[in-house]
């Protein structure tokens, strides 16, 4: 116990020191970002992941020019016997084989990957922006404001999400943008709770209390002192959200909002592929799953690298 307290007070002194240092650094803001960049590019895993992600994006952009079939055309001649005639093949022009209806999986995967990347990133972005701010404010202000804000999140978590989607669909014209509203409506909730938890504990740290004593405004404290310390957990949770949102999208589309045939998404391709695994068309699962995996792995390492690079404690 004594040791803990001792180390805590040491920690506080140290943090005060770093705090001063970082304030000094903030003046030379440019070099801060420069440092971060150097650190990021020094991280092999992160750079490798970035390369993979760029390749995936490049594939989405350039891939269509190598396609023989469009993503909606049905290969009437081969559709009756997908398990043999629909295998991945260079000759037929179906590099990734056919889907269960006889459409070119190469073109469909390209289109799906693009859609899902967008969905995943938008979901994560909304979570980061709204969830972080909401959670940080709630945790920092505390008291009844915190109570009210968090009970609101409790309610929003428990409200049957499905009806919100259905109502969005009925009230507005279905469009791709509505999908983002649907995704955004849910993605930030868990993030706000995590951020608020961290903020609760940051709020009482010496450096925050020092800033308060120095008359720094609440909002500035949140932006300057709280948020940088939240970065690690925010980045990691955001990368966890990407696969989750990609899968949530397939449920939203199931209800009828969002991606409509003939367009598709990775979540839907995976679930279609999973349905037919036992029927000798395993590529229908493996192809979209590969792209899903490439995306989430690369985002994970990029996130990890970003976290390391921006970690204020390492400065």
């Amino acid at each position: 116990m004594a040791v803990t307290q001792y180390s805590k007070s040491l920690e506080d002194t140290a943090e005060r020191l770093t705090e001063r240092l970082s304030q000094a650094e903030a003046i030379r803001g440019r070099s801060l970002w420069f440092d971060a960049r150097v650190r990021f590019f020094g991280n092999k895993a992160a750079v490798g992941a970035l390369v993979v992600l760029i390749l995936v994006i490049a594939f989405v952009l350039i891939g269509p020019s190598f396609a023989v079939w469009s993503n909606e055309e049905i290969d009437w001649g081969r559709m009756g016997d997908i398990a043999t005639a629909g295998r991945p093949s260079i000759e037929t022009g179906h590099y990734f084989g056919l889907d269960d209806l006889g459409r070119d999986l190469y073109s469909r995967t390209i289109q799906a990957t693009g859609t899902s990347l967008l969905v995943g990133l938008v979901g994560a972005f909304v979570a980061v922006v709204i969830g972080t701010l909401y959670g940080a404010v709630s945790g920092y202000v505390g008291g009844w404001v915190d109570g009210a804000m968090m009970r609101a999140v409790d309610i929003l978590i428990a409200v049957p999400y499905m009806f919100i989607i259905i109502l969005l669909m009925v009230m507005f014209d279905r469009s791709f943008y509505m999908l983002f509203i649907g995704i955004g409506a849910t993605s930030w909730l868990a993030m706000s709770r995590i951020v608020r938890g961290q903020t609760l504990s940051l709020r009482h740290r010496e450096f925050v209390e020092a800033a308060q004593a120095g008359g720094v405004g609440g909002f500035t404290i949140i932006i300057r002192h709280i948020l940088p310390n939240l970065l690690g957990v925010v980045v990691v949770y955001a990368t966890l959200l990407v696969p989750e949102m990609i899968l949530v999208e397939s449920f939203i589309s199931f209800l009828g909002l969002g991606v409509q045939e003939p367009a598709t998404s990775l979540g839907r391709l995976i679930s279609e592929g999973a349905g037919t695994i036992a029927y000798g068309t395993i590529w229908q699962l493996l192809v979209p799953l590969t792209f899903f995996l490439l995306t989430i792995i690369s985002l994970f390492f990029i996130g990890d690298g970003l976290r390391d690079a921006l970690d204020p404690k390492d400065r």
Binding site: I74, A83, D100, L255, E261, P262, E272, A278, Y279
Partner: protein
């Protein structure tokens, strides 16, 4: 709670065992095949049943259970013909609006009470009683029971219903109009008798295992919602000695692919084949994969109401869209389960119905496509003025495949831009019911085996006419058909009008496509309504 439930089941099992005759092991009395020792039939159902109350049940899987638990006046045999159930015979008058049924005196409820005419009177009154508010109350109206309509509307007391017990074994039914096929309707679950004493004793709880008393070949012994329900031999059933299957287990498995895996693992005796998998399974398991016609159709309906777009009100456009649909691709490449292609509304499998000749049926697809292009051009649509339509369907993999294929066919052949939109079921019903579409998916399974169950949907007042097709001639013909001695010419005429006017695009007629274990005997593949009775099945020794 679990324990007491098990005890009751154990008790029932014991009594069943003591009372059951020695048929279980041995040979089949008619075919002489050796029978398996374990006479348990296990099958997959897609969804939890809505109820096992005969007057309340409204879904297929519930009706299957109710047909085993309860027995109505008549049953169907393996070919769908009427065979005596609780009734042994009936008489009718010349105008066919009074029917008298003679009930068998040996019929018993599972608690030993005799089944009497009063049980039917009670049940039928229950069906139309506003207090029970059965969703199937309209079946009472459909049967044209005297005063049913007024009773449902709350304008008359229930005891005014046109059904009475002359004595314990004679049931007299008065109809408000002549219905020649009335006895056919007594195989429907909502007409089955109900045990008054038990219902009054337990109220809404009466259908729970342990409480329920039934007069069919089986009693409900276990029900775990969303998981399984079990029915076991009812030793009090009047024909118990001819019953071979001891126990029937229905397992709820939502995912058809998992169901198939579990079938292949030997956990099920019967499951449905997922769309497109039949040819492969037939090759691998030639004796187990079966396909036979069903009494259902599948079509797209045009929106002919004022809210529909002008283009689809042009009969040439409707004809063209219908002709351009290559049904063979849908039935052979997408569904691939032996479904017949459809050019008319009523399935050929319908009893006493001959499919009329319509021009489209005898053309080749190339001829149809050529004709479709011609009609579209005539209607003024082409590359300069492309037609766009929206098409709605409820979310499901098979529906989606068909919708996508239709869109592609129209796009490639006619240059039509089809926007297809899936919806969750209730939203779909609302949107379709409110005519927010150009084309909407529709499907119908016959309530009884007669063409009017389908063709009625094309009349102006039908509750299922979401396309708002209205044709005075069709209405008149269908009205006339109700009392006609031979309605076939009238039906033919109606089908011809439908073919000419094309208010709908018939796509295919259903087939029952199953994996059925080879040791299951006597599955009624010829019963197009798939009204099957576990008491008629048996399990062969392997």
């Amino acid at each position: 709670m679990m324990i007491s439930a098990r005890l009751t089941i154990a008790g029932l099992l014991a009594s069943t065992f003591l009372a059951s005759p020695v048929l279980a092991a041995g040979t089949h009395p008619v075919t002489g095949e050796p029978l398996a020792d374990d006479q348990t039939f296990t099958y997959r159902v897609l969804d939890e049943h809505s109820s096992v109350d005969p007057q309340v049940v409204e879904d297929v899987s519930g009706s299957e259970i109710v047909r085993d638990l309860f027995e109505g006046l008549y049953n169907q045999d393996a070919d769908g013909n009427l065979v005596p159930g609780v009734a042994t015979s009936y008489e009718t008058n010349d105008t066919k609006d009074v029917y008298t049924f003679h009930l068998r005196p040996e019929a018993r409820w599972s608690n030993g009470d005799p089944v009497v005419a009063g049980d039917f009177v009670y049940a039928w009154r229950r069906l139309v009683d506003p207090e029970l508010a059965s969703p199937y109350a309209w079946f009472g109206e459909l049967m044209a029971l005297e005063n049913a309509k007024a009773i449902i509307a709350g304008e008359m007391p229930v005891d005014q219903l046109g059904v009475k017990a002359v004595d314990d074994h004679t049931l007299e039914v008065h109809l408000s109009q002549s219905i020649p096929y009335f006895p056919l309707m007594t195989t429907h679950a909502s007409t089955f008798p109900a045990p008054r004493k038990v219902i009054e004793k337990y109220g809404a709880e009466w259908t729970k295992p342990g409480n329920i008393v039934s007069n069919g070949a089986y009693v409900l012994t276990e029900h775990v919602p969303q998981e399984r329900s079990v029915r076991e031999r009812n030793p009090m059933y009047w024909d118990n000695e001819h019953t071979i299957i001891d126990k029937v287990v229905a397992l709820v498995i939502n995912d058809e692919n998992v169901a198939l895996t579990r079938y292949l693992a030997g956990e099920l005796d019967r499951t449905e084949v997922p769309a497109g998998q039949y040819p492969r399974l037939k090759k691998e398991y030639p004796d187990e994969a079966i396909s036979f016609p069903r009494l259902c159709n599948y079509y797209y309906t045009f929106n002919l109401s004022p809210s529909g777009q002008e283009a689809v009100k042009d009969v040439r456009v409707r004809q063209a869209l219908s002709l351009a649909v290559d049904r063979k691709i849908i039935t052979e490449n997408i569904l691939a389960g032996g479904q017949p292609e459809a050019y008319t509304f009523t399935p050929a499998a319908t009893a006493g119905f001959t499919v009329p000749d319509v021009p489209a049926a005898s053309m080749t697809q190339a001829e149809r496509d050529a004709k479709a292009k011609e009609l579209m051009a005539e209607a003024g649509y082409g590359p300069d003025q492309p037609l766009s339509v929206n098409l709605i369907y409820n979310t499901s993999e098979a529906h989606e495949k068909i919708a996508v294929a239709l869109g592609q066919m129209w796009k490639q052949k006619l240059g039509v831009q089809a926007t297809i939109a899936n919806m969750e079921w209730k939203t779909f019903l609302e949107e379709r019911g409110n005519q927010n579409f150009d084309l909407a998916r529709g499907a119908w399974c016959g309530d009884y085996n007669e063409a009017s169950t389908f063709l009625d949907l094309m009349t102006t007042d039908s509750g299922y006419n979401d396309g708002k097709f209205s044709n005075a001639e069709v209405d008149a013909l269908m009205n006339e058909a109700k009392t006609a001695d031979d309605p076939q010419p009238l039906y033919t005429k109606v089908e011809q009008i439908i073919a000419e006017q094309a208010p709908i695009i018939p796509i295919y007629h259903y087939a029952g496509v199953y994996m059925l274990d080879t040791d299951v005997g006597n599955w009624p593949v010829n019963n197009v309504e798939q009204n099957w009775y576990s008491k008629d099945l048996y399990k062969k020794a392997e």
